[in-house]
Amino acid sequence: MIDVQRLRVVVTGMGSVSAAGIGVERLWNAARTGQSGVGIAHLPRAGSNRVNLAAQVKDFEPEAFIERKLLPYCDRFAQLAIVAADEAMAQAGIGRDHRLGERTGVILGTAVGGITTIDDLCYTDLVLKARTDPLSVPRIMGSSAPSHIGMRYGCTGPTYAVTSACASASQAIGMGCFLIRSGLIDRAIVGGSDSSITALNIRAWETLRVLTPDCPRPFSIGRNGMVLGEGAGIFVLESEATAFARGATVLAEMAGFGTTSDAFDIVRPDVEGAANAMRIAIADAGLVPEQIDYVNAHGTGTVANDNVEAKALRSVFGPRLRELAISSTKPIHGHTLGAAGAIELAITIMAMREGIVPPTINWLGPDPNIGSDFDPVPNEARRRPIGAAMSNSFAFGGINSCLIVVPAP
Protein backbone atom coordinates (compact mmCIF):
# COMPACT_ATOMS: atom_id res chain seq x y z
CA MET A 1 0.00 0.00 0.00
CA ILE A 2 1.25 3.48 -0.84
CA ASP A 3 2.20 5.63 2.13
CA VAL A 4 0.68 8.97 1.10
CA GLN A 5 2.87 10.75 3.64
CA ARG A 6 6.07 9.46 2.02
CA LEU A 7 5.55 10.13 -1.69
CA ARG A 8 7.22 13.45 -2.43
CA VAL A 9 5.52 15.93 -4.75
CA VAL A 10 7.64 18.51 -6.52
CA VAL A 11 7.01 21.68 -8.52
CA THR A 12 8.61 21.62 -11.97
CA GLY A 13 6.91 24.62 -13.60
CA MET A 14 5.26 27.91 -12.68
CA GLY A 15 3.33 30.48 -14.66
CA SER A 16 1.44 33.64 -13.88
CA VAL A 17 -0.48 36.52 -15.36
CA SER A 18 -1.13 39.41 -12.98
CA ALA A 19 -1.27 43.17 -12.65
CA ALA A 20 2.54 42.99 -12.75
CA GLY A 21 2.31 41.60 -16.30
CA ILE A 22 2.82 38.27 -17.99
CA GLY A 23 5.17 35.85 -16.31
CA VAL A 24 6.34 34.83 -12.85
CA GLU A 25 9.49 36.89 -13.30
CA ARG A 26 7.53 40.15 -13.60
CA LEU A 27 5.30 39.15 -10.67
CA TRP A 28 8.31 38.37 -8.49
CA ASN A 29 10.16 41.56 -9.46
CA ALA A 30 7.09 43.64 -8.57
CA ALA A 31 6.64 41.84 -5.23
CA ARG A 32 10.33 42.08 -4.32
CA THR A 33 10.70 45.75 -5.24
CA GLY A 34 7.29 46.80 -3.93
CA GLN A 35 5.88 47.96 -7.28
CA SER A 36 2.11 48.06 -6.95
CA GLY A 37 -0.09 47.15 -9.91
CA VAL A 38 -3.08 48.92 -8.34
CA GLY A 39 -4.47 51.83 -10.33
CA ILE A 40 -7.61 53.47 -11.68
CA ALA A 41 -9.73 50.68 -13.13
CA HIS A 42 -10.42 50.62 -16.87
CA LEU A 43 -13.93 49.24 -17.07
CA PRO A 44 -15.71 47.89 -20.14
CA ARG A 45 -18.85 49.85 -19.17
CA ALA A 46 -19.48 52.57 -16.63
CA GLY A 47 -21.63 51.69 -13.62
CA SER A 48 -22.71 53.04 -10.27
CA ASN A 49 -19.46 52.08 -8.49
CA ARG A 50 -17.78 54.79 -6.41
CA VAL A 51 -14.56 52.91 -5.70
CA ASN A 52 -12.45 53.00 -8.82
CA LEU A 53 -9.29 51.11 -7.83
CA ALA A 54 -8.24 47.68 -9.07
CA ALA A 55 -5.14 45.65 -9.89
CA GLN A 56 -5.83 44.81 -13.54
CA VAL A 57 -3.81 42.93 -16.13
CA LYS A 58 -2.95 45.77 -18.49
CA ASP A 59 -2.57 45.62 -22.28
CA PHE A 60 -3.38 41.91 -22.40
CA GLU A 61 -3.71 40.74 -26.00
CA PRO A 62 -4.96 37.16 -25.92
CA GLU A 63 -4.47 36.77 -29.71
CA ALA A 64 -0.72 36.92 -29.12
CA PHE A 65 -0.88 33.71 -27.03
CA ILE A 66 -4.03 31.76 -27.86
CA GLU A 67 -5.29 30.42 -31.21
CA ARG A 68 -7.82 32.83 -32.73
CA LYS A 69 -10.41 30.08 -33.28
CA LEU A 70 -10.33 29.15 -29.60
CA LEU A 71 -10.84 32.67 -28.21
CA PRO A 72 -14.64 32.90 -28.66
CA TYR A 73 -14.94 29.94 -26.25
CA CYS A 74 -12.82 31.55 -23.53
CA ASP A 75 -13.90 34.08 -20.92
CA ARG A 76 -11.01 36.28 -19.80
CA PHE A 77 -10.47 34.14 -16.68
CA ALA A 78 -9.84 31.10 -18.91
CA GLN A 79 -7.56 33.12 -21.22
CA LEU A 80 -5.40 34.17 -18.27
CA ALA A 81 -5.24 30.55 -17.08
CA ILE A 82 -4.17 29.27 -20.52
CA VAL A 83 -1.37 31.84 -20.81
CA ALA A 84 -0.10 31.02 -17.30
CA ALA A 85 -0.34 27.27 -18.01
CA ASP A 86 1.72 27.62 -21.21
CA GLU A 87 4.45 29.38 -19.21
CA ALA A 88 4.39 26.71 -16.48
CA MET A 89 4.49 23.84 -18.99
CA ALA A 90 7.33 25.48 -20.96
CA GLN A 91 9.34 25.81 -17.75
CA ALA A 92 8.60 22.18 -16.89
CA GLY A 93 9.85 21.22 -20.36
CA ILE A 94 6.58 19.64 -21.45
CA GLY A 95 5.36 20.44 -24.97
CA ARG A 96 2.14 19.88 -26.88
CA ASP A 97 3.63 17.34 -29.28
CA HIS A 98 2.11 14.33 -27.53
CA ARG A 99 -0.93 13.80 -25.32
CA LEU A 100 -0.12 13.43 -21.61
CA GLY A 101 -2.91 10.91 -20.99
CA GLU A 102 -4.77 9.70 -17.94
CA ARG A 103 -1.88 9.96 -15.45
CA THR A 104 -2.06 13.77 -15.66
CA GLY A 105 -4.93 15.71 -14.07
CA VAL A 106 -5.93 19.38 -14.22
CA ILE A 107 -7.36 20.98 -11.08
CA LEU A 108 -7.88 24.73 -11.03
CA GLY A 109 -9.54 27.11 -8.61
CA THR A 110 -11.90 29.93 -9.49
CA ALA A 111 -14.18 31.94 -7.25
CA VAL A 112 -16.45 33.45 -9.88
CA GLY A 113 -15.54 31.77 -13.21
CA GLY A 114 -17.03 33.45 -16.25
CA ILE A 115 -18.66 36.31 -14.39
CA THR A 116 -17.54 38.84 -17.02
CA THR A 117 -19.47 36.84 -19.63
CA ILE A 118 -22.55 36.85 -17.33
CA ASP A 119 -22.18 40.63 -17.01
CA ASP A 120 -22.05 40.94 -20.84
CA LEU A 121 -24.97 38.55 -21.28
CA CYS A 122 -27.20 40.56 -18.93
CA TYR A 123 -26.24 43.85 -20.56
CA THR A 124 -26.74 42.57 -24.12
CA ASP A 125 -30.07 40.90 -23.43
CA LEU A 126 -31.69 43.15 -20.81
CA VAL A 127 -30.34 46.56 -21.78
CA LEU A 128 -29.38 46.45 -25.47
CA LYS A 129 -32.05 43.83 -26.27
CA ALA A 130 -29.60 42.55 -28.87
CA ARG A 131 -28.47 39.06 -29.93
CA THR A 132 -26.63 37.35 -27.09
CA ASP A 133 -23.39 35.40 -27.46
CA PRO A 134 -24.33 31.79 -28.33
CA LEU A 135 -21.10 30.62 -26.67
CA SER A 136 -21.99 32.13 -23.30
CA VAL A 137 -22.49 28.76 -21.59
CA PRO A 138 -19.04 27.29 -22.33
CA ARG A 139 -17.49 30.66 -21.38
CA ILE A 140 -19.33 30.96 -18.07
CA MET A 141 -18.67 27.51 -16.62
CA GLY A 142 -16.02 27.56 -13.91
CA SER A 143 -14.55 24.29 -15.21
CA SER A 144 -13.84 25.80 -18.64
CA ALA A 145 -10.27 26.78 -17.67
CA PRO A 146 -9.20 23.26 -16.61
CA SER A 147 -11.02 21.78 -19.64
CA HIS A 148 -9.22 24.08 -22.09
CA ILE A 149 -5.83 23.36 -20.52
CA GLY A 150 -6.57 19.63 -20.51
CA MET A 151 -7.42 19.77 -24.25
CA ARG A 152 -4.26 21.77 -24.93
CA TYR A 153 -1.97 19.14 -23.40
CA GLY A 154 -4.08 16.01 -23.79
CA CYS A 155 -4.56 15.44 -20.05
CA THR A 156 -7.27 12.80 -19.64
CA GLY A 157 -6.89 12.28 -15.88
CA PRO A 158 -9.09 13.83 -13.14
CA THR A 159 -10.07 17.33 -14.32
CA TYR A 160 -12.23 19.73 -12.34
CA ALA A 161 -12.63 23.19 -10.87
CA VAL A 162 -12.47 23.92 -7.16
CA THR A 163 -14.64 26.78 -6.07
CA SER A 164 -14.26 27.90 -2.48
CA ALA A 165 -14.08 31.68 -2.93
CA CYS A 166 -10.67 33.02 -1.94
CA ALA A 167 -9.36 29.57 -0.92
CA SER A 168 -10.07 28.06 -4.38
CA ALA A 169 -6.54 28.05 -5.85
CA SER A 170 -4.91 26.97 -2.60
CA GLN A 171 -7.31 24.02 -2.26
CA ALA A 172 -6.87 23.12 -5.94
CA ILE A 173 -3.08 22.97 -5.48
CA GLY A 174 -3.47 20.95 -2.29
CA MET A 175 -5.88 18.49 -3.91
CA GLY A 176 -3.55 18.01 -6.88
CA CYS A 177 -0.75 17.26 -4.44
CA PHE A 178 -2.92 14.72 -2.58
CA LEU A 179 -4.02 12.97 -5.81
CA ILE A 180 -0.35 12.50 -6.75
CA ARG A 181 0.52 11.27 -3.26
CA SER A 182 -2.38 8.82 -3.37
CA GLY A 183 -0.85 7.27 -6.49
CA LEU A 184 -3.93 8.00 -8.62
CA ILE A 185 -1.95 10.26 -10.97
CA ASP A 186 1.72 11.15 -11.54
CA ARG A 187 1.31 14.76 -12.56
CA ALA A 188 -1.17 17.60 -12.02
CA ILE A 189 -1.56 21.01 -13.61
CA VAL A 190 -2.90 23.07 -10.71
CA GLY A 191 -3.53 26.67 -9.66
CA GLY A 192 -6.30 29.19 -10.11
CA SER A 193 -7.67 32.02 -12.17
CA ASP A 194 -10.18 34.83 -11.79
CA SER A 195 -11.10 37.98 -13.68
CA SER A 196 -14.00 40.04 -12.40
CA ILE A 197 -13.06 43.71 -12.79
CA THR A 198 -16.33 45.15 -14.07
CA ALA A 199 -18.33 48.07 -12.69
CA LEU A 200 -21.02 45.67 -11.50
CA ASN A 201 -18.55 43.50 -9.57
CA ILE A 202 -16.79 46.43 -7.97
CA ARG A 203 -20.22 47.69 -6.95
CA ALA A 204 -21.12 44.30 -5.44
CA TRP A 205 -17.92 44.32 -3.34
CA GLU A 206 -18.20 47.95 -2.30
CA THR A 207 -21.78 47.53 -1.06
CA LEU A 208 -20.34 44.94 1.33
CA ARG A 209 -18.16 47.91 2.41
CA VAL A 210 -14.90 45.93 2.32
CA LEU A 211 -13.11 47.85 -0.48
CA THR A 212 -10.63 50.57 0.35
CA PRO A 213 -11.49 53.88 -1.32
CA ASP A 214 -7.83 54.97 -1.38
CA CYS A 215 -5.03 52.49 -0.61
CA PRO A 216 -4.68 48.89 0.62
CA ARG A 217 -2.32 48.60 3.61
CA PRO A 218 -2.47 45.11 5.20
CA PHE A 219 -1.65 44.79 8.93
CA SER A 220 -1.05 48.56 9.15
CA ILE A 221 -2.59 51.15 11.39
CA GLY A 222 -5.23 53.08 9.43
CA ARG A 223 -6.06 50.28 6.99
CA ASN A 224 -9.53 50.49 5.53
CA GLY A 225 -10.12 47.61 3.19
CA MET A 226 -8.98 45.53 0.24
CA VAL A 227 -8.51 46.09 -3.48
CA LEU A 228 -9.74 43.68 -6.17
CA GLY A 229 -7.29 42.17 -8.62
CA GLU A 230 -7.35 39.72 -11.53
CA GLY A 231 -4.92 37.10 -12.71
CA ALA A 232 -3.88 33.47 -12.84
CA GLY A 233 -1.21 31.29 -11.29
CA ILE A 234 -0.46 27.78 -12.58
CA PHE A 235 1.97 25.07 -11.41
CA VAL A 236 3.11 21.74 -12.73
CA LEU A 237 3.22 19.25 -9.85
CA GLU A 238 4.79 15.82 -10.30
CA SER A 239 5.73 12.92 -8.13
CA GLU A 240 9.45 13.12 -7.46
CA ALA A 241 9.99 9.83 -9.34
CA THR A 242 8.16 11.13 -12.43
CA ALA A 243 10.16 14.35 -12.47
CA PHE A 244 13.42 12.44 -11.89
CA ALA A 245 12.71 9.90 -14.63
CA ARG A 246 12.41 12.62 -17.28
CA GLY A 247 15.30 14.69 -15.91
CA ALA A 248 13.12 17.68 -14.99
CA THR A 249 14.49 20.61 -12.99
CA VAL A 250 12.78 20.77 -9.60
CA LEU A 251 11.88 24.28 -8.35
CA ALA A 252 10.57 23.35 -4.90
CA GLU A 253 8.94 20.55 -2.95
CA MET A 254 5.20 20.87 -2.32
CA ALA A 255 5.52 19.63 1.24
CA GLY A 256 2.31 20.30 3.14
CA PHE A 257 -1.38 21.07 2.78
CA GLY A 258 -3.94 21.82 5.47
CA THR A 259 -7.55 22.78 4.95
CA THR A 260 -10.41 23.35 7.40
CA SER A 261 -13.82 24.96 7.60
CA ASP A 262 -14.92 27.29 10.40
CA ALA A 263 -18.57 26.16 10.06
CA PHE A 264 -19.32 29.44 11.78
CA ASP A 265 -20.31 32.44 9.63
CA ILE A 266 -20.61 33.15 5.90
CA VAL A 267 -18.55 36.39 6.02
CA ARG A 268 -16.89 36.68 9.45
CA PRO A 269 -13.55 34.88 9.89
CA ASP A 270 -12.68 32.67 12.86
CA VAL A 271 -9.33 32.34 14.64
CA GLU A 272 -9.50 28.60 15.39
CA GLY A 273 -10.41 27.51 11.85
CA ALA A 274 -7.52 29.46 10.36
CA ALA A 275 -5.06 28.32 13.04
CA ASN A 276 -6.02 24.67 12.59
CA ALA A 277 -5.47 24.82 8.82
CA MET A 278 -1.93 26.12 9.50
CA ARG A 279 -1.27 23.43 12.13
CA ILE A 280 -2.47 20.65 9.81
CA ALA A 281 -0.33 21.96 6.92
CA ILE A 282 2.81 22.18 9.09
CA ALA A 283 2.25 18.67 10.47
CA ASP A 284 1.51 17.33 6.96
CA ALA A 285 4.92 18.68 5.85
CA GLY A 286 6.51 16.79 8.75
CA LEU A 287 7.65 20.07 10.29
CA VAL A 288 7.17 21.99 13.53
CA PRO A 289 6.28 25.73 13.66
CA GLU A 290 9.88 26.66 14.61
CA GLN A 291 11.01 25.49 11.16
CA ILE A 292 8.85 27.97 9.22
CA ASP A 293 10.76 31.13 8.25
CA TYR A 294 8.33 32.99 6.01
CA VAL A 295 4.54 33.27 5.78
CA ASN A 296 2.87 34.87 2.77
CA ALA A 297 -0.26 35.92 4.62
CA HIS A 298 -3.80 36.13 3.29
CA GLY A 299 -3.56 39.76 4.54
CA THR A 300 -6.45 41.35 2.64
CA GLY A 301 -6.14 44.72 4.39
CA THR A 302 -9.59 44.57 5.99
CA VAL A 303 -9.74 45.10 9.73
CA ALA A 304 -11.48 41.76 10.31
CA ASN A 305 -9.20 39.50 8.23
CA ASP A 306 -5.92 40.95 9.41
CA ASN A 307 -6.87 40.95 13.11
CA VAL A 308 -8.07 37.34 12.96
CA GLU A 309 -5.10 36.16 10.89
CA ALA A 310 -2.65 37.77 13.34
CA LYS A 311 -4.39 36.04 16.26
CA ALA A 312 -4.35 32.70 14.42
CA LEU A 313 -0.62 33.07 13.64
CA ARG A 314 0.08 33.91 17.29
CA SER A 315 -1.88 30.85 18.39
CA VAL A 316 0.13 28.55 16.06
CA PHE A 317 3.60 30.09 16.40
CA GLY A 318 3.65 31.41 20.00
CA PRO A 319 7.06 32.94 20.82
CA ARG A 320 8.32 31.99 17.32
CA LEU A 321 6.05 34.75 15.94
CA ARG A 322 8.70 37.39 16.74
CA GLU A 323 11.23 35.69 14.47
CA LEU A 324 8.79 34.95 11.67
CA ALA A 325 8.74 37.15 8.57
CA ILE A 326 5.11 37.67 7.52
CA SER A 327 4.08 39.70 4.52
CA SER A 328 1.00 40.34 2.45
CA THR A 329 1.72 40.99 -1.22
CA LYS A 330 -1.91 41.85 -2.03
CA PRO A 331 -1.16 45.60 -2.43
CA ILE A 332 1.10 44.52 -5.36
CA HIS A 333 -1.30 42.23 -7.29
CA GLY A 334 -4.62 42.94 -5.60
CA HIS A 335 -6.95 40.34 -4.13
CA THR A 336 -7.30 37.96 -7.05
CA LEU A 337 -9.97 35.84 -5.29
CA GLY A 338 -9.85 32.32 -6.76
CA ALA A 339 -6.33 32.91 -8.10
CA ALA A 340 -4.93 34.34 -4.86
CA GLY A 341 -3.54 31.08 -3.44
CA ALA A 342 -1.67 30.39 -6.69
CA ILE A 343 -0.26 33.86 -7.41
CA GLU A 344 0.88 34.11 -3.79
CA LEU A 345 2.42 30.61 -3.83
CA ALA A 346 4.47 31.62 -6.89
CA ILE A 347 5.80 34.60 -4.91
CA THR A 348 6.42 32.36 -1.88
CA ILE A 349 8.45 29.88 -3.96
CA MET A 350 10.48 32.70 -5.53
CA ALA A 351 11.11 34.20 -2.06
CA MET A 352 12.41 30.85 -0.84
CA ARG A 353 14.56 30.24 -3.94
CA GLU A 354 16.18 33.67 -3.75
CA GLY A 355 16.31 34.06 0.04
CA ILE A 356 14.47 37.37 -0.15
CA VAL A 357 11.31 38.16 1.80
CA PRO A 358 8.97 40.48 -0.15
CA PRO A 359 7.58 43.44 1.80
CA THR A 360 4.10 44.48 2.91
CA ILE A 361 3.96 47.86 1.16
CA ASN A 362 1.89 50.95 2.12
CA TRP A 363 2.51 50.13 5.79
CA LEU A 364 2.22 53.20 8.04
CA GLY A 365 2.92 51.78 11.48
CA PRO A 366 1.95 49.02 13.92
CA ASP A 367 -1.71 48.46 14.77
CA PRO A 368 -2.15 47.73 18.49
CA ASN A 369 -4.80 45.14 17.53
CA ILE A 370 -2.20 43.22 15.49
CA GLY A 371 0.45 43.29 18.23
CA SER A 372 4.08 44.37 18.56
CA ASP A 373 5.39 40.80 18.26
CA PHE A 374 4.26 40.69 14.61
CA ASP A 375 6.78 41.47 11.83
CA PRO A 376 5.02 42.40 8.57
CA VAL A 377 8.31 43.14 6.78
CA PRO A 378 7.21 46.74 6.34
CA ASN A 379 7.76 48.46 2.99
CA GLU A 380 11.15 46.99 2.07
CA ALA A 381 12.29 43.51 1.08
CA ARG A 382 14.74 41.74 3.33
CA ARG A 383 17.39 39.08 2.75
CA ARG A 384 16.74 35.96 4.77
CA PRO A 385 17.45 32.28 4.18
CA ILE A 386 14.11 30.44 4.01
CA GLY A 387 14.11 26.74 4.95
CA ALA A 388 10.32 26.40 4.78
CA ALA A 389 7.54 28.81 3.82
CA MET A 390 3.78 28.88 4.15
CA SER A 391 1.11 30.54 2.01
CA ASN A 392 -2.27 31.27 3.64
CA SER A 393 -5.69 31.60 2.00
CA PHE A 394 -8.86 32.25 3.99
CA ALA A 395 -12.23 32.56 2.29
CA PHE A 396 -15.71 33.91 2.85
CA GLY A 397 -17.76 30.92 3.89
CA GLY A 398 -15.11 30.07 6.50
CA ILE A 399 -12.94 27.87 4.28
CA ASN A 400 -9.24 27.95 5.17
CA SER A 401 -6.34 26.53 3.18
CA CYS A 402 -2.59 26.60 3.80
CA LEU A 403 0.28 25.31 1.68
CA ILE A 404 3.87 24.63 2.74
CA VAL A 405 6.86 24.58 0.41
CA VAL A 406 10.46 23.59 1.12
CA PRO A 407 13.53 23.72 -1.14
CA ALA A 408 13.98 21.06 -3.83
CA PRO A 409 15.13 17.74 -2.29
Binding site: R50, V51, E206, T207, L208, R209, V210, L211, T212, P213, G222, R223, N224, G225, R268, T302, V303, A304
Partner: protein, 86 residues
Protein backbone atom coordinates in the same frame (compact mmCIF):
# COMPACT_ATOMS: atom_id res chain seq x y z
CA UNK B 1 -20.07 75.54 10.05
CA UNK B 2 -20.93 74.20 13.53
CA UNK B 3 -24.63 74.60 12.79
CA UNK B 4 -24.03 72.67 9.59
CA UNK B 5 -22.27 69.93 11.48
CA UNK B 6 -24.96 69.50 14.14
CA UNK B 7 -27.72 69.54 11.52
CA UNK B 8 -25.79 66.93 9.55
CA UNK B 9 -25.30 64.84 12.71
CA UNK B 10 -29.06 64.87 13.28
CA UNK B 11 -29.72 63.74 9.72
CA UNK B 12 -27.12 60.97 10.00
CA UNK B 13 -28.64 59.84 13.30
CA UNK B 14 -32.07 59.62 11.66
CA UNK B 15 -30.67 57.37 8.91
CA UNK B 16 -28.97 55.17 11.51
CA UNK B 17 -32.18 54.83 13.54
CA UNK B 18 -34.27 53.99 10.50
CA UNK B 19 -31.87 51.62 8.74
CA UNK B 20 -30.57 50.04 11.94
CA UNK B 21 -34.17 49.53 13.16
CA UNK B 22 -33.14 51.06 16.46
CA UNK B 23 -35.60 51.40 19.33
CA UNK B 24 -35.58 55.15 20.09
CA UNK B 25 -36.30 54.53 23.77
CA UNK B 26 -32.91 52.81 24.10
CA UNK B 27 -30.93 55.81 22.83
CA UNK B 28 -28.93 57.41 25.64
CA UNK B 29 -25.82 59.59 25.64
CA UNK B 30 -23.58 56.55 26.20
CA UNK B 31 -25.48 53.99 24.12
CA UNK B 32 -23.21 51.51 22.33
CA UNK B 33 -23.90 49.76 19.03
CA UNK B 34 -24.10 46.57 21.06
CA UNK B 35 -26.67 47.93 23.54
CA UNK B 36 -28.74 49.08 20.56
CA UNK B 37 -28.44 45.60 19.03
CA UNK B 38 -26.83 46.95 15.85
CA UNK B 39 -25.03 44.07 14.07
CA UNK B 40 -22.42 44.23 11.31
CA UNK B 41 -25.03 43.52 8.61
CA UNK B 42 -27.05 46.49 9.98
CA UNK B 43 -23.94 48.68 9.65
CA UNK B 44 -23.64 47.59 5.99
CA UNK B 45 -27.29 48.64 5.41
CA UNK B 46 -26.80 51.93 7.30
CA UNK B 47 -23.73 52.80 5.17
CA UNK B 48 -25.70 51.96 2.01
CA UNK B 49 -28.42 54.44 3.03
CA UNK B 50 -25.82 57.07 3.99
CA UNK B 51 -24.28 56.66 0.53
CA UNK B 52 -27.67 57.14 -1.17
CA UNK B 53 -28.47 60.22 0.87
CA UNK B 54 -25.06 61.93 0.99
CA UNK B 55 -23.23 60.45 -2.06
CA UNK B 56 -20.23 59.28 -0.08
CA UNK B 57 -18.62 55.81 0.02
CA UNK B 58 -17.68 54.82 3.56
CA UNK B 59 -15.94 51.45 4.08
CA UNK B 60 -16.88 49.37 7.11
CA UNK B 61 -13.21 49.50 8.13
CA UNK B 62 -11.21 52.52 9.29
CA UNK B 63 -12.76 54.99 11.71
CA UNK B 64 -16.16 53.25 11.52
CA UNK B 65 -14.61 50.01 12.80
CA UNK B 66 -13.16 51.87 15.79
CA UNK B 67 -16.49 53.47 16.76
CA UNK B 68 -17.93 51.56 19.66
CA UNK B 69 -20.70 53.94 20.75
CA UNK B 70 -23.43 55.74 18.86
CA UNK B 71 -21.91 59.21 19.35
CA UNK B 72 -18.53 58.28 17.86
CA UNK B 73 -20.24 56.33 15.06
CA UNK B 74 -22.29 59.40 14.11
CA UNK B 75 -19.28 61.70 14.29
CA UNK B 76 -17.05 59.47 12.16
CA UNK B 77 -19.78 59.30 9.49
CA UNK B 78 -20.18 63.11 9.66
CA UNK B 79 -16.39 63.51 9.27
CA UNK B 80 -16.37 61.39 6.12
CA UNK B 81 -19.27 63.36 4.61
CA UNK B 82 -17.56 66.69 5.34
CA UNK B 83 -14.22 65.38 3.94
CA UNK B 84 -15.99 64.48 0.72
CA UNK B 85 -17.54 67.97 0.50
CA UNK B 86 -14.19 69.74 0.99
Amino acid sequence: MDVDRSKLAEEVLEVIITEGKIDRSKITSNATLESLEVQSIDVVMILMAIEEKFSVYIPIDGSIAEAKDLTSFVSSVVERILEKRD
